[in-house]
């Protein structure tokens, strides 16, 4: 069969007719409603907590009720399950109230009096004095590069928060029973939660069961956060003796759950004979109050900081700093959107200063197969960027429009911007080999049906369908002979988390190999199980996190974007006339699914670039905690969005597939802001770039 040919998605029917069970849809008979009391102070000592008299059947759960360790196991275990002596951000969970009636739970929560002793919070990256993580990448001779430079450029770039804005808010249900705990809910990574709950409960691994429910979007936002609330409901159920459900309201979700790290990047770039020879880059990410996933987000961010360019001399210093704000975590792109924005804008600005067209200037610097990466690894496979640029030019008319819009005057001015990015597929560095060590199983039943046993979750991206297609294809059987259900850690091995655009490429390939194994040992009318373990491809140059050298990724997905805008210089409002992307994720294991990923991710990226502004007030409180104040794109915002696929096969991915999920978001912001700077005749250096920002530029122009 043609593996790329689209099929009806495995999860289509129940989602379409409303029968799919999301965590909030389960019956609540005998279940207690939990609600959290969050800190209202950015940094304070907890002096006293007064709880009103509780009616029978109601419980207050706090740090003293945690039977194991009061820490959520993520990367470093500094996030408390419930606050201890201090609170570190507005939203830090202090305690939970649980009981049978939701309104009564609310009433009790409102009656709790917390006495704080305020301490001075750190709210901005620039003011941070605690560095969570500090990494350096070095390559070539930076000093020599600057010494020999014809010209040196320096510029600072900023990016803001981005909220994942999955339509289904966070939610879990926990139940302690028969000396075991079961947590089910909305999640990306059942085994992450499994480890976290075992630690907080002081349970053996065998005493913990985690089950994914149908998950209404995640985009990274349900990578680490569900571990926190899973620990909380497990502890609450342990105390109350009944199942406890915790489902966030939208405002609570937007205020207290993880987001994309705001960033501050400073570039010093040396030019010799019209070419960039050297980059000295300082990257700072706002980690928020606890470390959560900042280490790994920062790693990816700095590895991408020199972009798709072949730069001889590099010094990249990356820090994730602590502030008394909501902990930032995973969001589609995972550190890359920030640094790609900075490097793409930097390249635009240098090109413009040198009197060159940015696209041509960028093309002259792009990496090729065999070149070394920022971490002195290797681009092992063909880099299709030049061909993709031509395809992009064809669908967008980029070059012609860019020339046409060069000297516009009048009320309405147009601009078109360009970006080129990659996404390293899979875990950064040696993570797949040393940490994840993925395992998958296939269970063939007597009737010949084959069940996929893997811990990866379908949160809408189509994994149930693409996994099943791989197995069906290798067995040459119809898709309905393949069974796949939401992962349950009692039944599935740990094939790793559903993150880093890894599932299809890494786990999908394991499934393909497992299927070949099953096929060669196939016995009719017998029950059979086969197992397959991750093996790193032979060509990979081992990566060292100590030196930041080696192959950070085995291969790369590529994209080039062009976005065209029209600015009304009277109102500052800009209209997106067209958004064009060419994406190489290798062989699409279902064209509709991959195009859907590209279109959806691209639009999220355009939101990040343009309207999705989130910030904090002077007290550290997030000001934009609803869809009213934090607007995400509607169907009217980008009516002309075009995503085209370019296929450069990866020999170690299933049928040539590479990681896909994150890629389309990453290049949108530099392409959009690049378009605005053409229309506004002014170099720009932050995202999102809102109508208000545009107005500020126009006001200065008038002076």
């Amino acid at each position: 069969m043609d593996i790329s040919k689209s099929v009806k998605k495995k999860d289509h029917e129940p989602k379409m007719n409303g029968s799919a069970m999301y965590v909030g849809d389960y019956p609540t008979d005998g279940v207690l409603f939990g609600k959290l009391l969050h800190s209202t102070r950015a940094k304070a000592k907890l002096i006293d907590i007064q709880v009103p008299a509780l009616p029978a059947g109601y419980f207050v759960i706090d740090k003293n009720d945690v039977p194991g360790v009061n820490r959520v196991h993520i990367v470093k275990d500094d996030t408390p399950v419930f606050a201890e002596g201090t609170v570190e951000y507005i939203g830090d969970p202090i305690l939970m109230v649980a009981g049978p009636d939701q309104q009564e739970v609310d009433r009790i929560l409102n009656g709790i009096q917390v006495t704080y002793e305020d301490l001075t919070p750190v709210l901005r990256i620039e003011d941070a004095d605690t560095v969570f993580f500090d990494y350096t990448i070095e390559k070539g001779n930076v000093q020599k590069g600057f010494r020999e430079a014809d010209k040196v450029y320096e510029e600072t770039f900023r990016t803001g928060y981005q909220e994942q804005a999955y339509l289904e808010p966070q939610g879990v249900v926990g139940f302690v029973h028969d000396n075991r705990v079961t947590v089910h809910g909305s999640m990306q990574c059942p085994y992450y939660i499994h480890g976290a709950v075992a630690k907080a409960m002081g349970f053996e691994a065998s005493q913990v069961q985690i089950v994914q429910d149908v998950t209404g979007g995640a985009f990274g936002g349900k990578e680490d956060y569900p571990s926190i609330i899973a620990c909380q409901v497990a502890v609450a159920s342990y105390k109350a003796g009944k199942p406890v459900r915790l489902i966030f309201e939208r405002r609570e979700d937007m205020e207290v759950t993880s987001k994309r790290h705001p960033s501050l990047c400073t570039y010093r770039v040396a030019i010799k004979d019209g070419k960039v020879t050297t980059m000295d880059i300082d990257v700072k990410f706002n980690g928020g109050a606890y470390t959560t996933l900042s280490a790994v987000v920062l790693q990816r961010g700095i590895i991408c900081a020199s972009g798709v360019y072949d730069i001889d001399n590099l010094h990249i210093r990356g820090k994730a700093v602590k502030t008394n704000t909501v902990p930032c975590g995973a969001y589609r792109g995972f550190g890359a959107p920030q640094t790609f924005f900075a490097v793409e804008m930097m390249m635009n600005h240098i090109a413009q200063d040198l009197g060159k067209e940015p696209l041509a200037f960028k093309l002259a610097h792009m990496v090729k197969q065999g070149d070394s990466t920022s971490t002195s690894g290797k681009y092992h496979f063909p880099v299709p960027l030049p061909a993709m640029v031509e395809e992009l030019d064809k669908i967008s008319g980029y070059r012609e429009k860019r020339a046409l819009y060069a000297k516009q005057t009048g009320r309405y001015r147009r601009g078109i911007g360009f970006s080129a990015i990659f996404h390293g597929a899979g875990f950064t560095g040696s993570g797949e080999r040393d940490l994840i060590k993925a395992v998958v199983k296939l269970h063939k039943y007597v009737d010949g049906k084959v069940e996929i046993l893997a811990s990866n979750t379908d949160m809408g991206q189509g994994l149930k369908t693409t996994f099943s297609k791989i197995v069906a294809n290798e067995l040459n059987v119809p898709l309905d002979r393949i069974v796949i259900t939401n992962p349950d850690t009692d039944r599935v091995p740990d094939s790793g988390p559903t993150v880093a655009s890894r599932s299809l490429m890494v786990v999908g390939e394991l499934l393909r190999r497992a299927t070949i194994n099953l096929r060669s040992h196939w016995k009719d009318n017998e029950d059979q199980v086969v197992e397959e373990h991750f093996k790193e491809p032979d060509f990979v140059i081992p990566f060292s996190l100590d030196t930041f050298k080696g192959d950070a990724y085995p291969t790369y997905a590529w994209s080039v974007d062009a976005i065209e805008v029209e600015v009304d210089t009277l109102t500052g409002v800009s209209k997106i006339l067209g958004s064009y992307g060419v994406f190489d994720v290798g062989t699409p294991i279902d064209e509709n699914i991959v195009v859907g990923q590209m279109e959806g991710g691209f639009l999220q990226g355009i939101g990040y670039a343009s309207i999705e502004e989130m910030n904090t007030d002077g007290s550290g409180r997030i000001r934009n905690n609803s869809f009213t104040d934090y607007a995400i794109p509607t169907s009217m915002d980008v009516p002309h969005l075009v995503a085209k696929l370019h296929v450069e096969k990866y020999p170690d991915g299933p049928y040539g597939a590479k990681g896909a999920g994150e890629l389309p978001l990453v290049g949108a912001a530099p392409a959009y802001v690049g378009a605005l700077e053409q229309a506004l005749h002014s170099p720009l250096n932050h995202a999102p770039f809102t109508t208000e920002d545009t107005m500020n530029v126009l006001m200065k122009e008038k002076k």
Partner: protein
């Protein structure tokens, strides 16, 4: 007519709700009538996940007080999915894989019905306007727009 309770037609059947007039239609549908295909995304009328048909018009059920539905007709995805029109939309959404996480889908399907019942052959712009009150974070909307277009072509005579 009973003199207590709020009577209305729910998915084609006459029902009476004995609760308060200021209860939220969304909560009543989900908790009292167990119609959990009606999703809760924001509870403030912004996302459209809780869309229902109220006398044939698209309404955010989180913004409707029960008092408003007396003598009205309320259709949720559970009722709508039994219709012939749904089957056309179902095939169209499947053909272009327009369903990703699925959370917006019950609302999107009912928005699709409203678009097509007002105009069986809408333009792309009319479709985009028709679903602009329903947020989707997954698809970028193209596939959903395409699905409604396909349904309008294949549902001849049904709308």
């Amino acid at each position: 007519m009973r003199d207590t309770g709020i009577s209305f037609i729910l998915n084609g059947e006459k029902v009476t709700y004995e609760g308060k007039a200021n209860d939220r239609l969304l909560d009543v549908l989900r908790e009292h009538f167990h119609l959990t295909g009606v999703k809760c995304g924001c509870k403030e009328g912004e996302c459209g996940s809780c869309s229902v048909l109220l006398d044939g018009q698209l309404a955010n059920s989180c913004m409707v007080a029960m008092g408003r539905v007396q003598d009205s007709e309320v259709t949720t995805i559970e009722g709508y999915s039994k219709t012939e029109r749904f089957k056309v939309l179902d095939r169209a959404y499947a053909a272009v894989s327009a369903v990703q996480c699925g959370y917006c889908i019950p609302g999107m399907v009912l928005a699709s019905e409203c678009i097509l019942s007002a105009n069986p052959h809408p333009t792309e712009e009319e479709i985009r306007i028709g679903i602009s009150g329903n947020l989707c974070r997954c698809t970028g909307y193209n596939a959903i727009v395409k699905a409604i277009k396909i349904a309008s072509e294949e549902g001849n005579g049904l709308w």
